[in-house]
Each structure stands twice: as structure tokens, then as C-alpha cells.
Amino acid sequence: MTPMIDPKTLLPAQVQDNSASGLDAAKHKDKKDLVFVNLGPSHPATHGCLRALCALDGETIVAAVTEMGYLHRGFEKDAEVHTFQQVIPYTDRLNYVSAIMNNVGYCKAVEKMLGITIPDRAMVLRVITCELNRIIDHLVCAGANLVDLGALTNFWYAFNAREKVYDILEKLCGARLTSSYTRIGGLSRDTYPAFADEVKAVLKDIRKSVAEITKLVSKNRIFVDRTQGVCVISKEKAVSYGWTGPTLRACGVEYDLRKAEPYYHYEDFKFEVPVGTHGDTYDRIFVRLYEIEESAGIIEQALRKLPKGPVMTDDKRVALPPKQQTYGNIEGLMNHFKIIMHGICPDPGEVYDYTEAANGELGFYIVADGGKNPYRVKCRPPCFMNYAAFHEMIEGGMIADAIANLGSINIIAGELDR
């Protein structure tokens, strides 16, 4: 089959000169019979909208160019024309698989800017919800990745447990997917009475489903052959690409912001950081599966030490006064009016703050000019860096490897394109 598009006109110089990607340029220089295939933007394995233009020699990917931007919704631009609080629902749509972690990441950055310390109860609840979100994010990633490998049943084992987590989140904040649970200075609402018991029950389900998935795949020869030694990335390469999170840890780098720069008293929790050895697809899947267990341990510890008290700071710059004060005295009424009408106005300045999200370091760089809207919000999505390395990882492999790899680096297009 002759290529339908002329590669010379379409591909950037990088593909024509393969030396950049470590390929034997001389070997492929004279290749005239390459087939060019678009994996995406509309493809069942992209879980969103991504595009990888691959030059195929048979089934082997000789060169690949990746492209993003198909799911660009203009989060950062939107943030500039909304108040600091109004940005929170937009963060839900970044990594929609673990929405609360984005809420927390953004609110933590704004709180740092304002110099606010949130109450202990809010901190511990943020830890619990974040870890629940980390668990469901990993379950989705592992389940979907196994679907890409053709093992369809694991997906349901993962998603049944995930549904139960969503039941809890729904009771907690009224929404399943787009939670908007946090507020600047704390949380939108406190827990409900049966919260601790339900979380404990759901952890049991999660552990069962993870055990089932592990049992189904870990010793399965087909799975092992498909994932071990596939799309390997070295420690150094991963660091140079700016990888963070489970994908980096799968390469053997023990770097977890919860340990390296603890926030929300993470230093008081006992947990391990699972680290891989080879940096292949297998390691990336299993680092995630092991992290689920660690997160479950953190949640159990957090439930034990969950203190009583308010979930919202009493800082008058960000917290609405209680209703009695709003209706009962003029100071309360004015405070309410100021926050609602004028919004939260941090002093001019800039801040970068980061949390360990499910995919890695989720950072928010915020510039304030003294007004109620942020002057600039820049989001550092973890999978952006992962995706940057994607083309290099898949070159030399086969289509099936590329698909398996795409699932294992967990690209969430909403977060990638913002």
C-alpha cells in the first residue's frame, strides 16, 4: 500500500532525522514503504483525544510524533476571568478521574498565597479524600490499561470498587465526578455520621478487588510477556523529562512529595513508597496497584486520628461568617457582602505550590495582581511530562506495545490539554 500522505511534507524534521530519537537513521533512511497511521485523536485506546502519528514498518513503529490539544478547554484562560473561588469547579475538569486532588492542589496554592492554615480536621479530611481519589485513579488506570491489553474482566473488578468510592464521595459533596469539595480555607462541608464506617467497608472492597486483579494478571504468562521489558525508560531519561509520581517511581527513583516535602502532616503517617526496578509497563502497573494498598493504610490511620472541630478556617478574608452573624450584626453582613461581591483578593505576588496527585506532581503557579481574579494561573499537570516522552518510548516497539504503554503512563486528556 502506498502511503496516502507524503511523509516529507507532513512529518517534522525529527522523524526524517532519526538520530534525535536514538534510532538507526541509516537503516530507515531509504525506507519508502512505510505506512503512516494515525493513532487517534479518535481511537479506543487513547481514553480521550490524543494523536500519535506513527510511521510503521510492518507492525513496528519506526518513528512517532505525538500531538496534543484536542481536548483544550482553556482552563488557564478561564481562570483569569473568574474569581479565586470560581476556579475551583474548573479544577474538577482537569484530571476528572481524581477530581478532589485537583481541588486540593489549587486551594492549597491559594491558601499558601494568602498565608492561611486550615484547621486540622480539614487537613485530615483532605488527606482521606485525596487518598480515596488516588485509589480510584489507580484503579481506573490499571483497569483501563488491562483493557488495552485485552484483559477485559479486570476493568469491572476495578470499577465496582470505584463505584462504591463514588457513593461515598456523592454523600460527602453531592457530586460523583466533579466534586468541588474544597473551598479556599477548608472544605465545603463536614462529613456525615456513617462516613468512617463506610470508608472502612469500601477499603475492604478495594483490597478484595486489587487482590482479584493481581491474582488474574500477576502470574499470567501472556500479561507478563506483554508488559515486561516493554517501553522501558531509564531513570535518567525519566528525570530529564520531568516525570514524577508512580511512573517515575516505576523507573526506580524513590521520589514522592508526600515523603520528600510532606504537607498536611503526611510525615506522621506510616506508609511505604513502592518503587519499580525496570521502568517498564509491568512496573508502572504494579507500582500503582501497590500504592493502592499504601493509600488504604493512610486512610485507616487518618480515620483513627480524625480530630473534631471546624472544617473551615475562621480567617475573615476567605470564610463566610456564620448565618447568625450575617443576619444579626453589621460586621457579619459586611463580611459576607465583601466575600460574595468582591471575592478573595490576595496581595499582589506569585506562588507555586504542588501536591502529590495520583499521576505525580500537580503544581499550580498563581500570579495575583490584588484583584479578585487571578492574574495568571498555570497548571503543571503530571501527565504532560509523561506524554512528552511517549513518542520516544514507543519508537522501535509494536503498535500493541504503544497501546499498552499509553495506558500505563495514564494520560488524562483533560489534564494534559487543560
Partner: protein, 434 residues
């Protein structure tokens, strides 16, 4: 009616039956797949579609799907090779129906001085016929992949053709093992030979003389190869949903797609029939040869009635449990339906038991012996086939998919040497037995 006309009628009827049987198994298989995968995956599966409230435990969904597929626009994309594009699904479907022509459904029955055969064509090259026809099935896929003018289709077609060629070899060699032990390629002789008990070096073992016991390695190879031949997970590379979107049938819609879909399932039904026939004694009831059954009508009747009663009784119990579980969810027909079916099943089971009691006390007319044997043998074959259908479902929802090069490696470097080794060992054993 002279004997020639009779034979002609017999063959015509059996040809139609051999085409209808896989077509009848297809909806059952699809239902089995949907409900089976639902059970494996902790889901409920299809249970909404119904006619007047009767949902037949999700079976009605098949009708809805057929209607949906027939109603869809029949799209032929621009720039496709129209002739081959249209031909491919029909080719796939037609070829998938052909192999059953040589599979015997029951032992020949002598009836009123004539022999009724339950096999459309007792070809002298039976085994080779199956091999040649099943290898023609790949043309449908290659044609579809090539003519669609789509790169994903083309890759699917390529994968499929390479896969078929590689696995046909081990499949054929596995068949040679069977050929060596039964010393015949005629399907009816192979099945007949499986009615005895197993003998080895002069000792009779308490095992049927089945292919699976004589050629266990050959059975495994054949099973794996037939998964590959039917493009079934873990060998569903031609479709490779997550990789090649839908592989060879990515451009197909409406009736043409449904033909591919049905061909896939009828291929599996055929594979199940062939495996059951070659390795599990076909229609043979274990430990009871056709002669034994014919000479002991009481035994035949008891086996048949007890089997029916057992199956129907189990089904009735399951339906009853389903009904009880759903009792609070539904009202009217939806609530009553499982109980209705449960009752029907129990009634059939009781009727079977009553028939058994009547038969044992009052004796049977002589012509019944043969007919009962036929019923029992057809039932036995169906059960074996259903088991393999379930195996196809079970494996699909358990295992991940192979990668193209791993598939090739397994076909050429593992299965082919094993098949050859199997032939060698078989040959040595046959020689020492002489």
C-alpha cells in the same frame, strides 16, 4: 420410494439441518457470552429488552440487536473495492456454515429396512474437508481488510492471514495424531471408533476410547489452534479492539457487519462441534456404545429421561432463585416470568420422570429403541458442544491478548515442534502396540 430417492431426501434434509444448527447455536452462544461475561465480571448483563414483558433472561436482546443491525444504514465508504467489499462478509458467513456437513449428529439408524444417516455427507476425506474449508474462512477477513481501504483494516487482515497460516500447521498436525490412532479420515468411522473402551497393551482401561485420552497433547494443540483459527481472544489480533479499533471490520456496518459477527460465532460453534467430534467422542455417550444402547432400551430410556430431568430440574431451580431474587423489583409479567419458566422446566422434568416410569413398567415398542438412541446421542453431542462454547466465553473474559510477534513465536517455535513430537511419540506407541 426407492432407496436412491430416500438417500437423496436424507441428504437434503441433513444438509439443511447442518446449516441450521450453527445458526441456531449462534443466538444461544451470544446470550451465553453476554450472561457468562456478566457473571464473570460481577454484572447483571442484558435484562431490559422484552416482548410484552417477557425477557427470556436477556435472550430477547438478540432479537433487538438483529432488528437494530438490519435497520442501520448500509454504508459503503468511498474508494473501497466495492465487489470484494461486498463479497467478504458473505464469504465469511458461507464458509463458516460449511464444515458441519461432515459432522455426524447421531449414529445411523436402521428404520423400516432403510438406513437413516444423521450426517449430510459422509465424505471419505472428512477430516481433510474440515481443514480445507476452515482455512478458506480467512479469505473473508483478508478481503475485508484489503478492500476497505483503511489502514487499520489492512493491518487486521495481515495479522489474521499470518495467524491463520501459522496455526493451521499445528492444527493439521494435531489432526494427523487423531488420524494415526483411528486409522481413518472418515468422520463417521472416527466417531464410531470412539464408542469403545480404551485399551492399552492388552489392558482395558475404565476410560472411553476418546481422542482426548489417546491424544491429550494433540487435544490441547487443537484447542489452542482453534482459538486462533476463530480469531478469538487471546488470539483476537485481527479485531484487536484497543489497538486496531475493530480491525478488519472497521468499515462495515448494518447487515454486512452482522454477517461478520454471526460468522465469528458460527465459526466457534463449528470449532466446538469439531473438537467434540474428534476428541470427545462426538455423539457417543460415555461408556455406552451405540450397540449397547440399542440392545438395552431400558438403559437408553433411563439415561435420556434422567439427563433431561436433571438438566430441566437444575434450570428450574435457577429460574426459581432468579425469580425470588427479583421478586421485589418488578410487577406483572416481569415478576411472573422466571416462575413461569421455572414451572415449565419442572413440568418437563416431571414428565421425563413419568415417561421413565411408564417405559420401565410397561415396556417399549421395538421401533422406539433406535429413536431414543438418536435423541440421547444428539443431546449428548449438544452438551459437549455447549461446554466448549462456554470454554470459549470463559477464556475470552479471563486472558489478555497476545502481541503479534509473540503469537508467531508461539505458533512456530512452540506448537509446531510439540505437534511434531506428538506425532513421533504416537508413532512409537502405535508400533510397540502391534
Amino acid at each position: 420410494m426407492d432407496s436412491q430417492t430416500f438417500t437423496l431426501i436424507n441428504i437434503t434434509v441433513m444438509t439443511v439441518v447442518a446449516w441450521i444448527v450453527p445458526l441456531q447455536f449462534v443466538p444461544v452462544f451470544i446470550w451465553l457470552e453476554r450472561k457468562g461475561s456478566a457473571i464473570i465480571q460481577d454484572r447483571i448483563g442484558p435484562d431490559r429488552t422484552g416482548i410484552l414483558g417477557f425477557r427470556l433472561f436477556g435472550m430477547v436482546q438478540n432479537f433487538a440487536d438483529v432488528v437494530k443491525l438490519l435497520m442501520k444504514e448500509n454504508i459503503v465508504p468511498a474508494n473501497v473495492n466495492r465487489f470484494y467489499f461486498m463479497l467478504a462478509p458473505f464469504w465469511a458467513m458461507t464458509v463458516s456454515l460449511l464444515p458441519l456437513l461432515v459432522v455426524p449428529f447421531a449414529a445411523p439408524l436402521d428404520f423400516a429396512g432403510r438406513t437413516v444417516r444423521f450426517q449430510a455427507a459422509d465424505l471419505g476425506v472428512g477430516l481433510l474437508y474440515i481443514l480445507s474449508i476452515t482455512s478458506m474462512g480467512v479469505f473473508g477477513i483478508i478481503l475485508a481488510g484489503w478492500s476497505s481501504n483503511n489502514k487499520f483494516s489492512l493491518l487486521g487482515g495481515l495479522r489474521s492471514s499470518a495467524q491463520m497460516i501459522s496455526y493451521e500447521l499445528s492444527m493439521g498436525l494435531a489432526m494427523v495424531g487423531i488420524l494415526m490412532v483411528y486409522q481413518d479420515v472418515r468422520m463417521s468411522s472416527i466417531v464410531e471408533a470412539q464408542g469403545r473402551l480404551l485399551t492399552a497393551w492388552g489392558h482395558t482401561l475404565p476410560l472411553p476410547h476418546w481422542g482426548i485420552f489417546l491424544q491429550p497433547l494433540s487435544f490441547l494443540l487443537f484447542l489452542v489452534a482453534s482459538f486462533a483459527e476463530t480469531n478469538r481472544n487471546p488470539f483476537d489480533l485481527a479485531e484487536g479492539e484497543s489497538e486496531l479499533v475493530a480491525g478488519f471490520h472497521v468499515e462495515y456496518s448494518s447487515v454486512k457487519f452482522s454477517l461478520f459477527f454471526m460468522a465469528e460465532y458460527s465459526n466457534m460453534v463449528v470449532a466446538a462441534f469439531v473438537i467434540a467430534t474428534l476428541f470427545l467422542g462426538g455423539y457417543q455417550v460415555p461408556f455406552a456404545s451405540t450397540e449397547t444402547l440399542r440392545q438395552n432400551p431400558q438403559l437408553t430410556l433411563s439415561l435420556l429421561c434422567l439427563l433431561v430431568a436433571l438438566l430441566k430440574g437444575t434450570a428450574g431451580l435457577i429460574f426459581y432463585k432468579i425469580g425470588n431474587r427479583q421478586r421485589h423489583l418488578y410487577a406483572g409479567v416481569k415478576r411472573a416470568e422466571p416462575f413461569l419458566f421455572s414451572g415449565l422446566c419442572f413440568a418437563v422434568a416431571l414428565a421425563a420422570l413419568a415417561l421413565l416410569a411408564m417405559g420401565l413398567t410397561m415396556g417399549l415398542p421395538a421401533w422406539m429403541n433406535g429413536v431414543l438412541t438418536v435423541f440421547l446421542q444428539v443431546l449428548c453431542l449438544s452438551l459437549k458442544v455447549l461446554f466448549f462454547c462456554w470454554l470459549f466465553v470463559w477464556v475470552r473474559w479471563t486472558l489478555p491478548r497476545f502481541r503479534y510477534d509473540q503469537l508467531m513465536k508461539m505458533g512456530w517455535k512452540l506448537m509446531l515442534p510439540l505437534a511434531l513430537l506428538n506425532l513421533l511419540v504416537t508413532g512409537v506407541i502405535i508400533l510397540t502396540q502391534k
